[in-house]
Amino acid sequence: MILTLLACSGSDLELGDANNFAYSATLDPTIVELAELNDSEIHWDELSSDLLDHELSPGAITELSVAVFGGYPLEELLDLLIRDELPQSALSLFVTSPPNSPARFSDFGLQNDELHPEQYFEVGSGIWMMTWSSGEGATSATERLLVLEPTVDGPTSATLPARGGELQAKGDFLSLTRLAAPAGELVGVDWSALTVDAQGGDLPLQQIDQLRVSWLPGTDLAQIGEEFVDLESKLEADWKLPLEGRVSAELSELEGDEDFTGFTGEGTWLLSLSCERCSLPVPSFVGVVEVD
């Protein structure tokens, strides 16, 4: 019976929305109170792990930023943020700073405009979010975040908790329709029919800039889903292909430490499509390959 559930069309893998895993996440940042209209300090030199609670040292941080959002209650804002559906119009202020510790509001600016906390950081002025980022350019990543709440007579300094783990996420690999592929063959992959991403949102095909095939020895898909955020460390073989303006590729194009020679019948094969430029570090598509 399971054969009737497999998505297989000729020898190519034609990806459809039913082949995609489902991703769900919650973001629960620390909220600190700070005195309104004051140039407060934020200490973060004890930072030791990232949003997923993976080890991270302060030296990895390349930039700090403060973003102010209006128009959404915090819970809805965080939900839109982790779904990558927040419109730019929610942003009412954005300023950056070198990674000074402690950081002061007055360190932040954009071009020649400085942030003036004595003028703007006040009760009712929106949701103030401070973020710590690593890397440069299009592949920079948000490592930590803190919500700053202006209050009357609040403290004038705050500390970022050393350990992160504000982002909890898991994947569902049990509900998807598996992709069927022959063993040991270098078939093609076509994802032109995909319309929604792993969170159920629109999937603009142009955003896909990487195809990835990964192998891990375990076969318990429920466990793989539960440990999704740590999946990277469990992969024992991994091939990638950068993409630009494409909706199909040949598996023979994949690049890795060794040549990809096709799927085998052991362990679990995952085929993913992702947007490495996007702010959300979650693949748009992850399918499980059933090897014939």
């Binding site: 730019q88 119009s89 405009d113 299009a138 800039d209 909706v247 430029r277 702010s279």
Partner: protein
């Protein structure tokens, strides 16, 4: 050329000439641009009619009779199948053909459209968090139909303009101005290193352009940064037209203007430049000083200035202050000014101002406030369109809004978090007038 290529040899009986060696090719660099070439048995003047739902667009007629034809289809969205038909002046030639455009690069953002379809195309510079910026043309539904991608930098281009001949897009990039033909046949990078080019450019009717640069000077004994206006003609010859420090004494600076003078500061902060053809003058917006200056193009002398609160310069008594302003536009209905916000008014808006410098006065004719409060903390523009309305770029909110002749909103185009817009222009056509 793209692998998406159709090569058809058709020997059909057209009204006066046969089409041979027809090639329809999607452009490699811009996957929404399509090249159509063919030969004809007799010299003819031809064009291509094309479109998605009907043949509602046309390339321009060729200039003179020829047997070697080439047309470029502009304005198609990505991943779209279009129909096309070759026309010569005496009628259609050959059969209708189809072509499918390609997939946009991953660095080009997707847009959401709400409301009515925009009446014009939109020329839009987009800055992306992470540095992959783009200069785009959107259709009325917010679909990208043309794009160019400046080199990665901290900020993208703040402005892009269509040349007066309708054939090229000019935009600012690091220490230079890029000129890119819409049909892809030419691109040029005009080096302006040394001027510290910033914010805006304005194109000149005879060709060439003017830009804003930086210059050092003294204010109250402090060494500060001011602005220059530099013209660059079609041959690349540069000419300094105006220096902020030459008119400093004519601006009636008051205690508020001088309150925060500090060594090294960006004192005048010019942030927009508009050519006034009627007066052969430039309008220069000095944001920090809340003054809009008219500067004579030939002499660089100050014609007049408008203070946003009317405390000096032209007689002006606005009921809403024009403070913290960005781009300006001289349209048939008056001067449009994008107003960012003030301590008292956090919502950005667009002002329409009647200028009467001959009578040394100005007046506020109208205002447009978006339905929701748009707090644009940087940039922002409003430019008149050919429908009597305007295209507004709520820059840091990542929203374009088109308003009609009654200054009512027709619709909006928005983008996801991580993108901001520069100064944006409505385009009535992607082909020369």
């Amino acid at each position: 050329m793209s692998p998406v290529t159709l090569i058809l040899s058709i020997a059909c009986s057209g009204p006066s000439a046969d089409i041979q060696e027809l090639q329809i090719e999607v452009d490699d660099d811009v996957v929404t641009r399509v090249h159509v070439s063919w030969t004809s048995s007799e010299a003819t003047i031809a064009r291509v009619d094309f479109g998605v739902d009907g043949l509602d667009q046309s390339t321009p007629w060729e200039d003179s009779p020829t047997t070697e034809h080439h047309a470029v289809l502009l304005g198609l969205p990505s991943l779209t199948t279009a129909r096309l038909r070759i026309q010569e002046q005496s009628g259609a030639l050959g059969e209708d053909e189809e072509v499918s455009t390609g997939l946009l690069p991953s660095s080009v953002p997707a847009f959401d459209h709400e409301g009515e379809e925009f009446a014009n195309w939109s020329l839009l510079p987009v800055s992306a968090d992470g540095g992959d910026h783009s200069v785009l043309v959107l259709d009325g539904l917010g679909q990208v139909v043309w794009y160019d991608q400046p080199p990665t930098s901290e900020f993208g281009s703040f402005t892009a303009e269509l040349s007066p001949d309708g054939q090229s897009i000019y935009y600012l990039q690091n220490d230079s101005v890029a000129r890119v033909r819409l049909d892809g046949s030419e691109r040029e990078n005009i080096d302006l290193a040394g001027w510290d080019v910033h914010h805006d450019l304005t194109l000149l009717p005879e060709g060439g352009f003017a830009i804003l640069g930086k210059v050092e000077g003294l204010v109250e004994g402090d060494a500060v940064s001011g602005d220059l206006l530099v013209e660059v003609d079609e041959d690349g010859q540069e000419r300094v037209v105006w220096n902020f420090f030459d008119v400093l004494d004519q601006l009636a600076l008051d205690a508020v203007d001088l309150k925060t003078v500090d060594t090294g500061m960006d004192f005048s902060h010019a942030n927009s430049l508009t050519y006034d053809a009627d007066a052969d003058a430039y309008l220069i917006n000095l944001a920090r000083l809340h003054r809009l200056l008219s500067v004579d193009r030939s002499t660089g002398e100050l014609n007049w200035y408008l203070h946003g609160a009317g405390t000096s310069g032209l007689e002006f008594q606005p009921d809403r202050l024009l403070m913290r302003t960005h781009d300006t536009d001289l349209g048939p209905e008056g001067l449009l000014v994008f107003v960012n916000n003030t301590e008292d008014d956090e919502c950005s808006w667009v002002a329409r101002v009647k200028l009467e410098p001959a009578f040394e006065r100005a007046s506020l004719l109208g205002a447009f406030d978006s339905e929701v409060c748009r707090d644009v903390f940087a940039l922002g523009s409003a430019h008149s369109n050919d429908q009597g309305g305007a295209l507004i770029s709520w820059s840091t909110e990542g929203v374009l809004e088109e308003i009609d002749a009654d200054w009512k909103s027709r619709g909006s185009i928005s983008v996801s978090l991580g993108h901001a817009f520069g100064y944006s222009y409505p385009l009535s056509s992607l082909y020369p007038p």
